[in-house]
């Protein structure tokens, strides 16, 4: 069974907002898209910029450095220069706290 870690404060994100959190030493960004929480590696697979510093447009996160675009629901690359997809994580709400797989 997958392990989940509580991410304190992530549940407070408003719709259309995202923020990076340290989850067991990994920077994971949580994005609130229309009330659904999506979690993914904060580090862009192209040249390691922080995606939380970029923009979130619906389900697309845009890297602030080189413009790579990823689908936050699947991690798929929508627009280069990135080639490798993002790692995404399952999320769930337990006792009012958002938890992220991993």
């Amino acid at each position: 069974m997958a392990e989940y870690a509580a991410v304190s404060g992530a549940g407070d994100l408003g719709e259309g907002e995202m923020r990076a959190f340290d989850v067991h030493g990994t920077q994971i960004t949580v994005a609130n898209v229309g009330g659904a929480f999506h979690a993914f590696d904060d580090t862009c697979t192209h040249l390691q910029c922080s995606l939380a510093e970029g923009d979130l447009e619906e389900t697309t996160v845009i890297c602030p450095c080189h413009g790579s675009e990823f689908d936050v629901t699947s991690g798929a690359v929508l627009q280069g220069p990135a080639r490798k997809p993002l790692v995404t994580y399952e999320t769930r709400v337990e006792g009012g706290t958002l938890e992220v797989e991993g």
């Binding site: 510093e53 970029g54 923009d55 450095c65 080189h66 413009g67 080639r83």
Partner: protein, 411 residues
């Protein structure tokens, strides 16, 4: 009869056009011809992460090696087109092969300008355009060696940073007062200068190279103002020229590259151009612009391909590029040649700002250092071409996305 579309130039624009023809269902013959032996690859890493050993050539490939065969794209890598007969609609290659075409896309890019400086032909002096150039420079890199970088445009600035990051001692020579002055102006150029100074680069401005000296290899650079800089190798970044000579005698209008309309069409029916070589009529800026950057090659090649298929799609992407130097992310979006005001949002001192180049209170272009989110949010402002109060642009509490007439951010 099977139609043949020929693409001359196998960089990102040419490769992207070939791929797009297949994606769009074109079932004729596609012939992709490139002077370099490699299949299409991306050039931005050549002066940055590839040069200082952080990434491999394979990571720069536009498509996997088997992509072209799988998609029935005939390739002629390592070959040049020697003649275009626009009347008979046939091209000839340097191996005498003749290929008739129904549509021809010219995506030959640019080449480094040859500079008439004494000693320019000595060994150890490099330009940087191809992966072969970057490999040669890489072979010169080792900690403690000394390099001179001539010209502090984007290539020179990035190379200087990559060499320093690899432990090479670097001196730069540039005729202007600060790096990138022609494009970014004095104020922003000063910020870039300080970044390079902080990393221990010797900066010589308002000076030019008078001669390269050495027995067989370059040993020193002599400047017009009398500097003698001992060195192990030299990288020259003094500009480029569009590779248009294959169109001589075709009747295609040439002027700072291959002149094309908003649909990437040249003045001769059936011949198109895209990428660095194309001087393209941009519907937003209402003038011809020639853009030598990754995003333009990436997007304009496919757009030209769709127009070859008869789609009548105007190409109106706002030019954008990045230039990573050391730990700093520099980006630029828009197009400007002159401006009457530079509005700064953020802090030049803290190297965290967007600078808006304005003319008649309209934003023509923006540059950012370490403020990429705001840079991307500036794109609608540039597209809208509206007058915007400088105070609003400066106000960090105002989301730039709320300032343009259109709410949806450009992709």
């Amino acid at each position: 009869m099977t139609e043949t579309f020929v693409i001359v130039g196998a960089g990102l624009a040419g490769g992207g056009a070939a791929a797009t023809l297949r994606e769009e269902g074109f079932d004729g013959r596609v012939v992709l011809i490139g002077a370099e032996p490699q299949p299409p690859y991306e050039r931005p890493p050549l002066s940055k992460e590839f040069l200082h050993g952080e990434s491999s050539f394979e990571q720069a490939l536009f498509q996997p090696l088997d992509f072209y065969g799988k998609n029935n794209i005939e390739t002629r890598f390592g070959h040049r087109v020697t003649h275009v007969d626009a009347t008979e609609k046939v091209i000839e290659l340097d191996n005498r092969e003749r290929v008739p075409y129904e549509a021809l896309l010219v995506a030959t890019g640019v080449r480094n300008r040859h500079i008439p400086i004494p000693g320019f032909d000595l060994e150890g002096i490099y330009g940087l355009r191809t992966v072969a150039d970057s490999d040669q420079i890489r072979a010169e890199i080792s900690p403690g060696r000394k390099a001179v970088v001539v010209g502090m445009g984007f290539i020179g600035s990035e190379v200087a940073a990559s060499l320093r990051q690899s432990g090479v001692e670097v001196a730069v020579v540039d005729r202007n007062t600060v790096p990138l002055r022609r494009v970014l102006g004095e104020e922003v150029g000063r910020v870039v200068e300080e970044i390079h100074r902080d990393h221990g680069t010797e900066l010589i401005f308002e000076d030019k190279v008078a001669a390269f000296e050495g027995a067989e290899r370059v040993e020193r650079v002599i400047t017009q103002r009398g500097h003698r800089i001992e060195c192990d190798f030299v990288v020259v970044g003094l500009g480029v020229e569009p590779a248009t000579e294959l169109l001589a005698g075709t009747g295609v209008d040439i002027g700072n590259g291959v002149l094309v309309d908003e649909y990437c069409r040249t003045s001769v029916e059936g011949i198109y151009a895209a990428g660095d070589v194309a001087n393209h009529y941009h519907p937003v800026f209402e003038r011809h612009i020639r853009v030598e950057h990754w995003q333009n090659a990436l997007k304009q090649g496919p757009s030209a391909a769709r127009n070859m298929l008869g789609e009548n799609e105007p190409y109106d992407e706002i030019p954008w590029f990045w230039s990573d130097q050391y730990e700093h992310s520099l980006q630029y979006v828009g197009f400007h040649t002159e401006w009457d005001e530079l509005v700064i949002r953020g802090s030049l001192e803290e190297r965290n700002f967007v600078g808006f180049y304005r003319k008649d209170r309209r934003v023509l272009a923006a540059v950012a250092i370490n403020r990429g989110r705001d840079l991307r949010r500036s794109i609608p402002l540039i597209k809208a071409q509206e007058e915007i109060a400088g105070a609003k642009l400066r106000d960090l509490d105002i989301d730039l996305r709320t300032l343009a007439g259109m709410q949806e951010i450009h992709r």
